[in-house]
């Protein structure tokens, strides 16, 4: 077995042994049950009284709310799960036993990265799939473009796992967690500044938001995914918090992808040179 896979396997094994996956399964299951029950009552109500348009808007809003919650849970998992992957092992010294083996430092970083990407992307896929299935089964409703939108959320998580892993090559666990969430916070508030700036037609606020999204493009990916999953009328009327006034361009997706690659390369180079 290639060494990257040996290392990824160990990390996955750890997630299983430490009951991380069990906790995710139980938490996720409870979330989906609660969401399903709520969806059932809303769908029943709008089925009786609302017009076709109102029904569509309500079901889109509740589906996007579900996906927004899934996005937030996945963001937390993407940052928190790998936050001590490297810094923890550097702290306890167990990395020395690993790095003295005939493995490349890059294999250590990428092995752990791969394991957490599998866990977080798997979590997001199952949870987002659960939300969409509930919408389809209970509300007989599917938002537009889910196959284009969900991959954007997956790229967002790929980016955040990479931020967390890369931070761990240099920072201590707590500092890394704070830094990763700090970056996400910039993206989050930057995006809102951009939306509101666009809404009130303030160019400066809009530019501040764009710069924030360039510093950390995570939230833009969610915004674009949410925009893709809405019918045109909701996009135009901007009637829910998920209808962005300023839609992140496809170039932002490429920026995020490039950002992830560069981040990993820089992290691997730094980790290869550092003393353990």
């Amino acid at each position: 077995m290639p060494r990257i896979l040996v290392l990824a396997h160990l990390t996955l094994h750890e997630a299983l042994r430490r009951r991380v996956l069990l906790a995710a399964l139980i938490g996720g299951g409870a979330f989906l049950i609660l969401y399903g029950v709520g969806f059932h009552f809303i769908a029943r109500d709008v089925g009786k009284h609302a017009t076709l348009l109102e029904r569509r808007i309500a079901l889109t809003a509740i589906t996007l709310a579900g996906l927004y919650a899934v996005n937030l849970l996945s963001v937390m998992s993407a940052v928190l799960l790998p936050v001590d992957a490297l810094s923890g092992e550097i702290g306890t010294g167990s990395i020395q036993t690993l790095a003295a083996k005939p493995v490349r430092r890059s294999e250590i970083v990428l092995g752990k990265w791969l394991a957490y990407v599998i866990v977080v992307l798997g979590y997001l896929t199952v949870m987002a799939g659960g939300v969409l299935t509930i919408a389809a089964v209970i509300g007989k409703f599917t938002p537009p473009n889910p196959t284009a939108a969900i991959p954007l959320m997956l790229v967002e998580m790929l980016l955040l796992v990479s931020v967390s892993i890369a931070g761990g090559t240099r920072l201590s666990t707590v500092t890394n967690g704070m830094a990763a969430f700090g970056l996400y916070g910039i993206a989050f508030i930057g995006n809102w500044v951009e939306q509101i700036g666009t809404f009130v037609d303030n160019v400066a606020a809009r530019n501040v938001g764009t710069v924030a999204s360039l510093i950390m493009p995570a939230e833009s990916l969610w915004q674009r995914a949410a925009w893709l999953m809405q019918p045109t009328i909701m996009r135009e009327l901007q009637i829910t918090p998920f209808s962005p006034a300023s839609v992140p361009s496809p170039a932002m997706v490429w920026w995020a992808a490039g950002y992830t690659v560069v981040l990993l390369v820089v992290a691997i180079r730094g980790f290869s040179k550092r003393g353990l």
Partner: protein, 319 residues
């Protein structure tokens, strides 16, 4: 193929504010059990980490098994037990060995045989399926040793391998080191337990403040002067001066020189260093001819502890 397992020239490591290793130059022959000695903070562990490619040196060069340090393929032929061995504590002992074997790319069947054999050798077969978090300190150290040997290395670095071990555990490690020597494996032992080093090593190098300061081949009696414990009565100034003609009278260890021997033993003890054992009868004759009562005249090889104190000096406070 180079005859040296480890070779370093002017190896140096400076951290931001501290010079950890100033100038390390040493060589270890293949098949040798080599002791690396020095007080705490002398740069032993940093030196080891540089050799293993864990810490990049600031200057100097070094090679392992004839290849420059940091060479990944060479690490496949090297074993390493870090000080205070720790690893993912949710793994069982058996899983730990299998994991490290896989990192070495050992085929599964060979790996099964080897890990069972090593578990047996470090007396952990019974505990093999228990999690590491349930292991005692000594058990962790032993499973760490097994992990260091999983690839049947040609060169093994052991950093304080007996720390945390009870006397039986120490004996086990000592036996394993003897077995490794028997198989021609080079052992690089970093330890401050001088008794252990004395019992296992062929040669030692003393390191002080990040520099190699002395090299000593153990068991090479011909190369050493003989130390003698002399117990006489009375030990007056004239006797002391007379004895000094046969060799050097050493400043005594506390409780020895010039101190009345405890308990029922009579006379005063002093320690001296003489050129060879041939002087012993002469000393006896001279003492008796002077009418001095001679209670003890015992040659002793200088212990590693004395070497240590002499080479490192007592200017160095305990670390």
């Amino acid at each position: 193929m180079s005859g040296l397992a480890v070779e370093t020239h002017g190896l140096r490591k400076r951290f931001a504010t501290k010079l950890a290793v100033a100038d390390l130059s040493l060589s270890v022959k293949r098949g040798e059990v080599f002791g690396f000695l020095g007080p705490n903070g002398a740069g032993k562990t940093t030196s080891l980490k540089m050799l293993l490619g864990l810490v990049p040196p600031t200057a100097g060069r070094a090679s392992l098994l004839g290849k420059p340090i940091g060479d990944r393929n060479t690490r496949a032929r090297v074993g390493f037990l870090p000080e205070h061995f720790r690893f993912q504590d949710w793994l069982t002992g058996r899983e730990l060995l299998r994991f490290h074997g896989r990192l070495h790319g050992i085929p599964e069947r060979t790996l099964t045989q080897r890990s069972e054999m090593l578990l047996e050798r470090v007396k952990l077969t019974e505990a093999a399926d228990r999690k590491l978090r349930e292991y005692s300190k000594g058990m962790l150290q032993r499973v760490g040793l097994a992990q260091a040997l999983i690839n049947e290395p040609e060169l093994v670095f052991l950093d304080e391998p007996t720390s945390g071990l009870d006397p039986l555990g120490r004996l086990l490690v000592r036996d394993i080191i003897h077995e490794l020597r028997g198989r021609g494996v080079t052992v690089f032992l970093n330890s401050h337990l001088l008794g252990e080093v004395e019992a296992t090593c062929d040669r030692v190098t003393f390191v002080k403040a990040g520099r190699t300061v002395h090299d000593l081949t153990l068991g090479d009696a011909a190369a050493e002067k003989v130390e003698v414990d002399v117990r006489v009565s009375p030990l007056d100034a004239a006797t002391r001066e007379g004895l000094a003609k046969f060799g050097e009278v050493l400043p005594g260890m506390p409780g020895e020189d010039g101190v009345e021997a405890a308990g029922a033993t009579a006379g005063t003890r002093l320690r001296m260093r003489i050129a060879d054992e041939e002087s012993l009868p002469e000393i006896a004759r001279w003492l008796v001819s002077r009418g001095v009562s001679l209670y003890e005249l015992k040659p002793a090889r200088k212990s590693l502890e004395r070497w240590f104190l002499e080479v490192i000096g007592d200017d160095q406070g305990p670390g």
